[in-house]
Symmetry: C2
Subunit: 714 residues, 2 copies
């Protein structure tokens, strides 16, 4: 809490109500100042002059040089209207400026109501920054910070956080922009007062949190100096749009229904069929062929027996408790079947059919959501391929069963991406705990799944493809609770589609959807994958690697050329090449030819025997100052690929048995035998790729990003 | 030519000589001004004041407000020394400023020689930019342009070109910075005089071209306004370092020796051996087993017969003309054998052995280079795996033969990367015309190879891994001559290693090695690959795709989710989604379900039969307004992967037969059958990848970059 007095808050409430009563959605400068004063947002001394004599008197009282600005509820862009004069001093200059401003305003907008001219203290020169807040459709109130001026508006060097922010979060924003260095003082310029600046951010964030009806706030510019941070201008815009409250469930409710979804004992298939090619046939076969050990109950009013199991006319006829009802019937029949599911008290409905919101049938979707809410049924979908819960041998999809059990849970909003997940997993033999289609997300969405996967002992890594979030704040909350336990990889599609969003303020224009997503996902500790393939590779590789315990990465390579490329990748992925201490350098040198290079990368040179790889990798694992190894292998006759793979896996396993675990990744440059060697290494805990120096380091970088977000590294 | 009078040039020459004679390497401000005047570089009116009265007189004569600056050969950073006062007007202010500057300078550097104080016209407010020139170790004289001020120094938004630049090149620099928009005027600010600014760049580039002894020039800032561009400050630094002239060959000489290297009729193997495991044994076997139809002559003083062929004591004993001598002997024996190669008149020596500059034996390398130059022998290597010329069935390496003949020539500086090239090519069945190891590049380097590959009818695409360029200008020249004919892909390693380079000027500090490489390679029309895997994928895919004839890219997808990701990739890769005209939109709509989306991406929706894919792809090929297709396939039972692959390949082939060629790339989302479908498509001219939406579009982006550089698109 910012420490705003209740009476100040009430004064703001009254002021905003008055503005709304007048049918305005923009506050005037004096109104903005009143709000700023109430919230302790520092602004320059100023006063409203209704005539030229008042202007002269105010200027004299404020002292020094002044800025004069038009005050009109009808003129938003004061500069464009010729309504601003900067740096006047003395009665004559003030008089002239006053008259010029009024004339310009009349010329610009003859019908504009003019309340007068604001006389403001001219702020000392300093670094211009912008502090603002907007209402994001996904995340709600969001604060923004960036360097001010035309340059930054063009370069879009801005950062965002969920409002309200703490003092520490506000300070972190100062370091999150590209030009952060400038605030610390460059080329002899002094550093600005960082805490004063952070305080402006914090207070703005509190203001928009307290008043949801404030759509946007702009402090632009804030003049930051070594002595403080003062907002030269404040703009506040109101909105009548109020976000519809979303039905929420408690954590216990979510875990209870998700457990029955992901670990069911009894599944009903509504629309089960004996006819090959029908979805209800595929789902039944996949449940049976996948080896699901629980009860499987086909429901079909026109059959007595489906795939050798007794069929029921209605789900209400199924005996005993049912955990999941999988729908494989056309959209138009879903509502009535869902009523029966509700009456039966089944907690989960998996809606495979399409033909809802995605085809424009929003009303049909709203209808089923209403039915589900009435009965307390959670909905997965509609418009999905279904879901896999591999440790339960549960394949409730119309695709094909997948049986490599493992630690990765994957979800996708799109069916096509879901199929790509399945194909990739099968091709790379990725161990999977679950694959879940989310489709239209009429109810269950990413935050429900995160809440479950965070608790699921079979899941060690979560990867999610998403195009939007129904409730960004719920997602962030679930992600923050999950990340300390396991990494979350997100592929956010539609990064670039947002394009120009109509916005009434600078901050609004800067808050392209993706900029906000990017900053806030990062703050939530999520690893954002740049593309589909990266999401899949991170998901496959992250659980294989142990968490690093420190920042010191060492490259050991048999090919100098790989060493250079691996070093590039280290920097690209935000990692740090360890500066090797003299004793360690000497220890490595003892193993490598005299013309090899210790330092980092450690270039053992090509043509070395297995013993050289082994001795140097062993030393890398042994020395506690080293926290992660990146290996560059060069295919030679002296050390063939499988020999390298075997010795590397053996050394890593030996240390693991002794309790020493470090992430080890490898880039294998060589003929096609390196592919087999990579598969061998991957299965044994070393993330290895052929023909690329980038992928292994990108995966290591993702692991480090998670370790930092999880608080495992200082 | 800038049109500098001969007498002005001579005046500059004399001035620079005088500065050198005094043992200085930095020009004073008045000296800088003299140079600027000679080269027509616009600077403000100014004069040197030796005492305070002169200062007052100069200020009065120049009129308006003035800037006063210390003039001392010993004070480089005037601001840091408190040696600059801005905006003084009237005798009293000038007097005070003069005294303050002298006091500050004395305090800052008591021993500094002080020539006086420069009184300069205060320039009108405008956009600050920086124009400069540096001497790059690879590219020689290079001009730089960026927005001025602390902000840009921090954000490093600068662009570089080889000096001298033409007026058009200079103008292109204004558009090559991230903040280019600012110069065109944003938020009501007027645009600057672009041609005046370009003229400043052009003149600086001419100055450093005329005087190689000028190491660096800084015009910082240049004040750009709608009326002109004037340099507020000019700094010039001299150097004594003169680049050693490199031995050069004419184009005809290069083509002649390269033809004999790449299409030899007779090859001698020096150090050929019967002993398995020896390099001389592998090379002999690979030549023989690879099926090389020319003569193969083993040379070994201790054998009469090697692998069934007559062996010679010395290469001088080999009968007839020999085109290539492959060295497979230890480094210490190379020099004497090379003498014999020279005496025999063999034009090419391929030096596989290591143990030269890369292990610190620079003297040994210098010795063999001297021998080679004396005899006119061109050297490939040393320290390489050898080379492949597949259309000649020539495998002169110690690796394994590679027999998929095709259009791609690949080169690598590193042996490890060479092995990765071989493995990748074999794994993906990439058709290859040559693979060449360059190693230490003691002689033959990338520009020789480019000159050859540009002419080689078997080569349609060239991909090069490099860590440095021996002669950046020769490379650029060869690249510019090649690009109109075929694409060049470059993987430049060591992007990030350059780090902090000692530099005496702003421009120098901005010219991190990689920034210069990046801009200049781009200007040369080269496609820079961000990593090893991308280089390999571009090399494999570029020759498969026809060149696009225009910018209109259309996405046709069966999975909406892929459509979103493909759209992201389109923007990321600098491509443009076509705005679909109404008639074309209607034509697409006729083929897709009512809830599908035309527009672009064209979402045909999941679950559609082959006919829908075929009709829409056919329309995409047919309509001449569409220039490239990106396909998103979603694996369903209705349209299985191979059905999609077959119909797509068939339609593309049908149009090709009718003379309609457009690049078509595809992203296949599905179960593992999509891998086979991708291979099928790739072989038939459609670049297709499974489990990724990024790669196909990245390849299309690379093809577009080439098409633009080759002048095929306006």
């Amino acid at each position: 809490m910012v420490g705003v007095e209740a009476q100040d808050r009430e004064a703001v409430r009254a002021l905003l109500a008055a503005v709304r009563a007048e049918g305005r959605d923009a506050l005037t400068a004096p109104e903005g100042r009143t709000v700023a004063d109430a919230y302790g947002i520092a602004v320059p001394g100023e006063a409203l002059a209704r005539d030229v004599d008042e202007a002269v008197a105010h200027a004299a009282r404020l002292g020094g040089r002044s800025v004069l600005k038009i005050v009109s509820p009808d003129i938003l862009h004061k500069t464009d209207a010729g309504g601003v004069v900067v740096g006047v001093e003395g009665a004559a200059e003030v008089r002239a400026a006053f008259h010029r401003i009024i004339e310009n305003a009349r010329a610009h907008a003859p019908a504009a109501r003019i309340d007068g001219v604001q006389v403001q203290q001219l702020l000392p020169p300093g670094q211009e920054v912008i502090v603002g807040a907007v209402t994001d459709p996904t995340f709600g109130k969001v604060v923004a910070f960036g360097l001010g001026g035309v340059l930054v508006e063009v370069l879009k060097d801005v950062t965002f956080r969920l409002a309200p922010v703490s003092a520490d979060e506000a300070i972190s924003m100062l370091d999150s922009i590209g030009a952060a260095e400038i605030l610390r003082g460059v080329r002899g310029a002094p550093a600005v007062d960082r805490w004063a600046l952070a305080e402006q951010i914090r207070r703005v964030s509190q203001l928009v949190t307290d008043f949801p009806e404030i759509a946007e706030v702009d402090l632009n510019p804030v003049i930051a100096t070594p002595e403080g941070a003062v907002a030269a201008d404040i703009r506040i815009l109101l909105t009548t749009e109020v976000a519809k409250p979303r039905r929420t469930y408690s954590r216990e409710e979510i875990l209870h229904s998700m457990r029955r979804l992901m670990q069911p004992r009894s599944v009903a298939v509504i629309g089960a069929s004996n006819e090959r090619g029908k979805i209800g046939n595929s789902v039944m076969r996949n449940l049976v062929d996948g080896g699901f050990p629980g009860e499987i109950h086909p429901v079909n009013p026109r059959a007595d027996d489906i795939q050798g199991r007794k069929a029921y006319k209605s789900v209400t006829d199924v005996p005993g408790e049912v955990d999941v009802a999988v729908f494989a019937i056309p959209a138009r029949f879903v509502a009535s079947a869902l009523e029966e599911v509700g009456r039966k008290g089944i907690p989960n409905a998996v809606l495979i059919p399409s033909g809802f919101a995605e085809t424009g049938e929003q009303a049909l979707q709203d209808e089923i959501v209403a039915i589900a809410e009435r009965h307390g049924v959670r909905l997965l979908g509609p418009n999905i391929y279904g879901y896999y819960s591999t440790w339960q041998d549960l394949c409730a999809t119309f695709c094909t069963p997948y049986d490599v059990k493992g630690p990765v849970a994957l979800t996708s909003q799109s069916g096509g991406i879901g199929m790509a997940i399945l194909g990739f997993a099968r091709s790379t033999r990725t161990g999977v705990s679950a694959i879940v289609g989310l489709g239209n997300k009429s109810d269950i969405d990413e935050d429900d799944l995160l809440t479950w996967f965070a608790e699921d002992p079979n899941t060690q890594c979560i990867a999610m493809h998403l195009e939007d979030l129904k409730d960004g704040r719920a997602f962030v909350e679930a992600a923050r609770a999950t990340v300390p336990k396991k990494p979350i990889v997100v592929l956010k599609a539609g990064r670039t589609s947002a394009g120009a969003k109509a916005a009434g303020s600078h901050t609004g224009a800067l808050a392209g959807d993706d900029a906000v997503y990017d900053d806030i996902l990062c703050q939530a500790g999520v690893i954002r994958a740049p593309g589909l393939n990266e999401m899949l590779e991170y998901a496959r590789a992250l659980p294989v690697l142990p968490a690093p315990r420190g920042d010191n990465v060492v490259i050991i390579t048999g090919a100098g050329g790989s060493g250079v490329l691996l070093s590039d990748a280290i920097v690209d992925n935000g990692l740090r090449l360890m500066e090797i201490p003299a004793d360690l350098d000497a220890a490595f040198k003892a193993f490598i030819p005299p013309f090899g290079a210790a330092g980092n990368p450690i270039d053992i040179t090509g043509g070395e025997p297995p013993a050289t790889y082994e001795a140097t990798i062993r030393l890398g694992m042994e020395d506690p100052r080293i926290h992660a190894l990146v290996l560059g292998y060069w295919h030679t006759i002296v050390t063939p690929p499988m020999v390298f793979a075997e010795l590397t896996a053996r050394v890593v396993e030996e240390f693991r048995a002794r309790g020493v675990e470090k992430p080890v990744v490898a880039s294998l440059a060589g003929d096609i035998e390196v592919e087999e060697a990579c598969a061998y290494l991957f299965e044994r805990g070393v993330v290895a790729y052929p023909y690329t120096t980038e992928k292994p380091v990108a995966v290591l970088g993702a692991k480090y990003r998670w370790a930092r977000a999880a608080g495992l590294l200082t």
